[in-house]
């Protein structure tokens, strides 16, 4: 060790340098803490939060019970029981729809897989519960989540694109294309 290093050791130079750093943080106090329950950070628009089932603007469920979301889910969160719409044998819907949110990893593959955009990801993330059974959601709960998070609903596909042919011809209650 040369003289300079000796002097540095004897005067605790490195320790004083560190203490200067902490003191400068005290004097220029700028906390990076977000006081979470009182302040919340802005979420990005593509935030993948709680899953929800959606409706069309006339209140009918979008889901056609095709099971593609169940097939796409890597964690086996979703269970769909599909059946015919009563009285309309050409149309199907999900009679029962269950999600076990304890297993969900919020990858969004089910939303991508859905052919009718019946699933959506909301910005909700405060889903801590005291009983984990409360995280096993049924269709009504998922629809309710969708209702409270997406107040603006889509029109039916046939109204969105009135000039495009659509497959579901079984509807009797909607205006048909003029011949």
């Amino acid at each position: 060790m040369n003289l300079k290093e000796w002097i540095k050791t004897l005067t605790f130079y490195e320790i004083l340098l560190g203490m200067k750093a902490t003191m400068s943080h005290l004097l220029h106090y700028k906390p990076i803490t977000l006081q979470y329950p009182h302040e919340k950070r802005a979420l990005p628009s593509n935030y993948r939060g709680m899953l929800a089932l959606l409706r069309y603007d006339d209140g009918t469920e979008k889901c056609v019970g095709c099971d593609l979301c169940e097939a796409a889910c890597p964690s086996r969160v979703i269970r769909v029981v599909s059946s015919e719409v009563p009285g309309e044998p050409t149309k199907r819907y999900s009679k029962e729809y269950y999600m076990d949110m304890t297993r969900c990893l919020f990858c969004g593959l089910c939303v991508k897989a859905c052919p009718v955009d019946a699933l959506g990801m909301t910005q909700e993330y405060e889903w801590a519960v005291y009983d984990k059974r409360q995280l096993q959601l049924n269709k009504q709960q998922l629809l309710a989540i969708g209702d409270r998070n997406f107040p603006v609903r889509e029109k039916r596909l046939e109204f969105q694109h009135p000039n495009v042919a659509y497959f579901n011809v079984g509807f009797k209650d909607i205006p048909q294309k003029e011949a």
Binding site: H25, L26, P31, T33
Partner: protein
């Protein structure tokens, strides 16, 4: 009659000092978390009360109502005794600290010193002796818990306290040579007149600055504070010697640690920084106001040292065990011994 008055006065004084120390401990728990937070760009406690100022109350209530657990296989007597053995020496040292001017008041025929509980002529020795007893509480608490972590913490603290108490004792010998007294009141009175008379600077004699550095490092080690917090190393030993303690027994250890911090700050203030004396004579005010300015300057200096403790904790990581031992025995001890020799020579040549 005289005995009754003396007893009442002394008990009142003890009560006042105890309340002041315990309130300071409560304040310190909040202050430490706040200062640490501020230094690390955090906020510290913010939830209980405005800006978290009621946090000590919440902590105290929580500790008071927690279940008191004695682990299976623990030595119950020793387990209960250890927190008391730790707390009492921490508080008892305040008996000889002069908090204000050395006045003697005549109350009903009894000579009464309002700012020091008892002015015994071996004050500093008394504090050192009781600080050593405090180590017993830590070692017994670690041993009687029937837990490996506690035992390791206790053993570490035994070795650490023995090696660093020696340095505390040797580093203050220089001050004792200059003041030729062990009484803290006499030592304080010898430093009157301005900051150049404080033993840290010691104008006209050998300055005790080096001894002060040795003392403050050893004091940090003796109070088990970072960077010498090996006995309670959270990341290695869970909590060290008080891993198994809960509720009020844990609170006793906690009080003891902070009480010790205040005590060594008081001792450092008295020995090296002139106790209740202001840095300049005119800051002391008129004679009749000495009690106020004296108490102010004493508190100011003590809080300065306490801030230094927090500052060190926010800055430094924990030492390794062999580094701790090497630093204590190979660095601090020779420096303290050299300081004694130099002070003695200078004091002999320029008496």
């Amino acid at each position: 009659m005289d005995t009754g008055i003396r007893l009442a006065l002394t008990l009142g004084q003890i009560g006042a000092v105890m309340v002041a120390v315990l309130l300071t401990v409560a304040l310190l728990t909040l202050l430490e978390r706040k200062v640490l937070g501020w230094m690390q760009d955090r906020m510290g406690p913010m939830e209980v009360g405005p800006y978290g100022i009621l946090q000590p109350v919440a902590d105290g209530l929580k500790l008071f109502f927690k279940e008191d657990i004695i682990p299976a296989g623990a030595n119950k007597f020793m387990f209960s005794l250890a927190p008391v053995l730790s707390l009492v020496p921490a508080l008892i040292g305040f008996a000889v600290i002069p908090f204000g001017p050395d006045w003697t008041v005549d109350v009903g025929g009894v000579n009464f010193k309002p700012f020091v509980i008892t002015d015994i002529n071996i004050g500093i020795l008394y504090i050192l002796a009781f600080a050593s007893i405090g180590a017993y509480g830590i070692i017994l608490g670690g041993w009687s818990s029937n837990s490996k972590y506690s035992l390791l913490g206790g053993l570490r603290s035994a070795a650490q306290l023995i090696s660093y108490e020696l340095n505390v004792g040797l580093s203050i010998v220089g001050v004792l040579l200059l003041s030729s007294s062990l009484s803290l009141v006499t030592i304080t009175n010898a430093q009157a007149g301005g900051f150049w008379n404080w033993y840290f600077f010691a104008w006209g004699s050998f300055p005790q600055a080096i001894a002060f550095v040795v003392f403050i490092i050893s004091a940090v080690a003796e109070t088990n504070r970072t960077p010498f917090d090996l006995p309670e190393a959270e990341s290695e030993l869970v909590a060290g010697f008080f891993t198994e303690y809960s509720g009020m027994r844990f609170a006793f250890f906690f009080l003891a640690e902070y009480g010790n911090m205040i005590l060594v700050s008081c001792v450092a203030t008295v020995l090296f920084f002139g106790g209740w004396h202001a840095p300049f004579e005119f800051l002391q005010g008129p004679e009749s106001l000495h009690w106020l300015t004296g108490m102010f300057w004493f508190t100011f200096k003590v809080y300065g040292f306490l801030f230094l403790f927090f500052w060190l904790r926010a800055t430094l990581p924990r030492l390794r065990y062999d580094q701790l031992m090497r630093f204590g025995w190979k660095v601090l001890l020779p420096i303290a011994l050299g300081n004694i020799v130099l002070t003695a020579i200078v004091e002999y040549i320029f008496p």
